[in-house]
């Protein structure tokens, strides 16, 4: 009734006569609309409430979404031999650490004992929840104590007092593939060795993956042990891009006299026309390897595109990937992509993996300005040059000392020596301080500093720094050579002395003989 009266007159009064104003159109107010349709009103309220609830308590959706099939698709706790996995739950998203997505970390090892302590310090620092990381090591053809050291370090890590330091399932696989070439830098990076070597490494990677990959893994992270510096957030940083396959840029530090730093991993590249034409001229089993003058491919390399001040999140489409640090969704490997141990489109191993992913229509991305630092392993030539440099410096210092000695008076020499000793001690103390404070700096800056390699020989700090370590090795070698030279000189002197004695005796004998005669 009241609605009738209200029609046309917003403020009706019962004492007033019945008024209709048909000439004025009045749209119905919203409240009236809602009152007329109480069902819709309730619906809207319910929907908004539900959406609010869902927004604030996202866990509810798991209860709501559990349909008939997913309730069926569960393990029966009484039957231990039957397991169910919905692979849709392990597809991998950009925010895996919030969604409890498991990462399988694959680490191929061969004669890697010297690198393990540093690698474990990297592991400890990883910010991705450790319990979500499963690790798989493949130890192949190792002649050093890799396996023993690995076991010790793993046990120490898994028995850490802080439970958040513990990783998930850890598996160590031992498999020897028979080695084609040695693991020294010059062996590994010679041109002729590349094809067979890459195919062998591809086999090793495939064995590791097929043995370790499980349905619950959402991501696979491939990592080499000989990485010197990597951001502890690296898994999240790469994951955030939510790509099928993604790699950072890999550089390595160098001694000052070689330029301080250098692009290392040339296996991440974009395909070029020249390379495609080159590929057509090669036989079925040929493997194009990047970074050798034998194959001029003119490909844009991820490594050379680095700008130290560039945006670390900048993405670049690539066709070949390097193996130092690859993050890939597990579904990439589940759908069949692997590291070809044969020539796939004229490529093998990680480069072939990139090519295969592209062929399967997956996204393969490189980050040109996000850098991981590989270790510096000096070549034989580098080592020789380094030891020559050290010898030259030692020689120079000796000359200077002798000169200083000659210049000094005998009276002053005692006092001068005392003063020099004090100055030296002070300098050493200062250097030690510098060392301890600068240990967190970039290896490049540290490498640039003038330090006496013979002095740093005893300092463990330098063993975290591959360039310094190489210099130490060179210094050790020089020291050994000097020592040997000294010993030889002594020996010679002794021999000369004994010879002289003999001569004397012989001389005497001769004299006696003469007398007899």
């Amino acid at each position: 009734m009241s609605s009738l009266i209200m029609n046309g007159n917003p403020f009706p009064h019962p004492s007033q006569p019945f008024i209709i104003s048909p000439h004025r159109f009045q749209s119905r107010s919203k409240s009236q609309m809602l009152r007329r349709l109480p069902v819709r009103r309730i619906l809207i309220l319910a929907c908004s409430l539900a959406s609010l609830l869902l927004f604030f308590f996202p866990t509810i959706s798991t209860f709501a979404g559990s349909s008939l099939t997913s309730s069926l698709f569960r393990d029966d706790p009484l039957i231990t031999t039957v397991h169910h996995y919905d692979l849709a739950n392990s597809q991998g998203t950009g925010r895996g650490w919030e969604r409890n997505e498991r990462v399988l970390m694959c680490i191929p090892l061969r004669d890697a004992a010297p690198h393990l302590p540093l690698f474990f310090s990297h592991l400890k620092n990883l910010t991705y929840p450790h319990s979500l990381i499963d690790m798989a090591f493949l130890v192949s053809d190792s002649k050093d104590e890799t396996l023993l050291l690995l076991n010790t370090l793993l046990e120490r890590m898994q028995n850490d007092k802080d439970p958040y330091m513990h990783f998930g399932r850890i598996e160590i696989f031992e498999k020897d593939f028979g080695q084609v070439v040695g693991q020294g830098f010059s062996d590994r990076h010679g041109f002729d060795a590349q094809g067979p070597r890459r195919k062998l490494m591809a086999r090793a990677r495939n064995w590791l993956l097929s043995a370790a990959l499980r349905p619950e893994h959402s991501w696979v992270y491939w990592r080499d042990v000989d990485v010197e510096i990597a951001p502890p957030t690296i898994i999240e940083d790469l994951m955030r891009h939510n790509k099928d396959v993604i790699v950072p840029n890999i550089w390595r530090p160098l001694p000052d006299w070689l330029g301080g730093e250098q692009p290392y991993d040339l296996n991440s590249w974009q395909e070029s026309e020249t390379a495609l034409q080159l590929a057509q001229t090669l036989g079925e089993d040929a493997v194009i390897v990047e970074g050798y003058p034998e194959f001029e491919t003119w490909r844009p390399h991820l490594a050379y595109l680095r700008d130290p001040y560039g945006d670390p999140d900048l993405e670049m489409e690539i066709d070949g990937v390097g193996g130092v640090s690859i993050l890939a969704k597990a579904r990439v490997f589940r759908s069949g992509a692997h590291f070809p141990a044969f020539s796939f489109e004229k490529h093998a191993e990680t480069e072939g993996f990139g090519k295969m992913c592209k062929r399967m229509g997956l996204s393969v991305i490189g980050l040109p300005h996000y850098v991981v630092w590989h270790m510096y392993e000096p070549s034989v030539d580098d080592m020789r040059y380094m030891s020559e440099m050290i010898q030259a410096r030692l020689h120079k210092e000796k000359e200077q000392q002798e000169k200083a000695k000659e210049n000094n008076n005998k009276d002053e020499s005692d006092r001068m020596a005392e003063a020099a000793a004090i100055a030296k001690a002070e300098m050493e103390a200062a250097k030690q301080k510098e060392l301890s404070s600068s240990s967190g700096e970039s290896p490049l800056q540290e490498a640039g500093k003038e330090t006496d390699p013979l002095e740093i020989y005893n300092s463990p700090v330098y063993f975290l720094d591959s360039v310094k370590a190489a210099e130490v090795r060179a210094a050790k070698q020089v020291a050994r050579e000097i020592e040997q030279a000294r010993k030889e000189a002594e020996k010679k002197a002794k021999e000369a002395a004994s010879e002289a004695n003999k001569d004397k005796k012989d001389g005497k004998k001769v004299v006696i003989a003469k007398d007899d005669a």
């Binding site: 039957v82 169910h84 850890i170 591809a202 064995w207 069949g336 141990a341």
Partner: protein, 348 residues
């Protein structure tokens, strides 16, 4: 005025309830906001840790040999399954290789039809794994694939040439998902057995393994009834020896084109193993093959470990099991078939 008031008053209970509700909700949200955000960023539970979580596997001593039976070698039977046939399951259970050495992996597509199959698998598996101990399989893994299958499963659709590429590619992905997640270091052999293989000799595994080949496939036939008479006919044409015609065709094709076997539109003149069957001849006669079908296919696990998979993309103009053969060959393995050793496909 009174009428107006009363009309408002009639509205009140609902509005008051909603306003009060919203206010309470807002307050609750404000008060609980800090813990609830903390919940999101909360670290996942720490794992157990300890030395127990470290497992060592020796992959060097793995063997896959002709006397698999005596060496106690573990066999992984893999089946992509969209429809469940009782005959398939019974045949599987009748295999007389020791069941504790057999592990089974199923992969199901997403969808209604597959859910029905799942229900039946569930009950069958449950009945077996809770039954007598000697009949139980070592392990059963049931996966559901993470992508949509483009194909419908009717017999006619399945064999039309137009949809073959998508169908075989999806099948390849399903197979890859299955073996990459279920092969573990103790597995010596992988037996690919299709869900519509309803009859095999009970000694299938031993018989195939006895040949000690990296890849070996049985000949797949189908039983049918004609004029009241039971007959058999060739079914799987994916096992073949290459021909010059096919090689020529491949040369002239674009990179993404695929050669399929068994279609009149695409005469390849390959030697098909299906037609090499001679009744009464030695069942252990071997023929080398360039392409294999995966209906009843025994593969040494090392072949898969080395990287041979079922290409979901045209690999030398081949897909799935035929592409797998090519890839295995590139890795240095050879494939063989047994033309007189028959297994039977379901007939609908």
């Amino acid at each position: 005025m009174g009428a107006y008031k009363s009309s408002r008053a009639r509205n009140r209970p609902l509005t008051i309830i909603s306003i009060v509700g919203a206010a309470i909700f807002f307050l609750v949200y404000l008060l609980s906001s800090s813990p609830s955000t903390a919940k999101v960023t909360k670290r996942p539970d720490a794992s157990v840790g300890g030395a127990k979580s470290i497992i060592r596997h020796q992959l060097n001593g793995l063997s896959a040999s002709w006397n698999s039976f005596e060496n106690k070698e573990r066999v992984l039977i893999l089946t992509p399954i969209a429809r469940f046939y009782e005959e398939y399951w019974n045949n599987l259970c009748n295999l007389n290789y020791p069941h504790e050495l057999i592990e089974i992996g199923f992969i199901l597509p997403r969808g209604r039809e597959a859910n029905q199959a799942l229900l039946r698998i569930e009950s069958a598996v449950k009945a077996l794994q809770t039954g007598p101990k000697k009949n139980r399989f070592g392990k059963v893994t049931i996966l559901r694939q993470d992508f949509e299958s483009p194909f419908s499963q009717s017999e006619k659709d399945r064999h039309a040439l137009s949809g073959q590429k998508e169908r075989r590619a999806a099948m390849a992905r399903a197979r890859n998902s299955l073996f990459t997640t279920t092969i573990h270091p103790q597995i010596s052999w992988v037996l690919w057995l299709d869900a519509d293989i309803v009859e095999t000799p009970a000694t299938l595994i031993q018989d195939l393994a006895a040949h000690d080949k990296s890849i070996i496939v049985a000949n797949c036939y189908q039983r049918y009834v004609e004029h009241g008479e039971s007959k058999i006919r060739a079914y799987d044409f994916n096992s073949w020896q290459d021909s010059d015609t096919a090689a020529q065709m491949a040369n002239e094709m674009g990179e993404d084109d695929v050669i399929f076997e068994g279609y009149a539109e695409m005469a390849t003149y390959r030697t098909l193993m299906a037609y090499l069957y001679v009744p009464g001849n030695d069942v252990h006669e071997e023929v080398p093959l360039d392409g294999v079908g995966a209906t009843a296919l025994l593969v040494k696990a090392d072949v898969h470990r080395d990287g041979a998979m079922f290409p979901p993309f045209p690999f030398y103009h081949l897909l799935e099991s035929e592409g797998f053969t090519k890839m295995a060959k590139r890795l240095g393995y050879d494939a063989f078939g047994l033309p007189n050793y028959l297994v039977y496909h379901y007939n609908e």
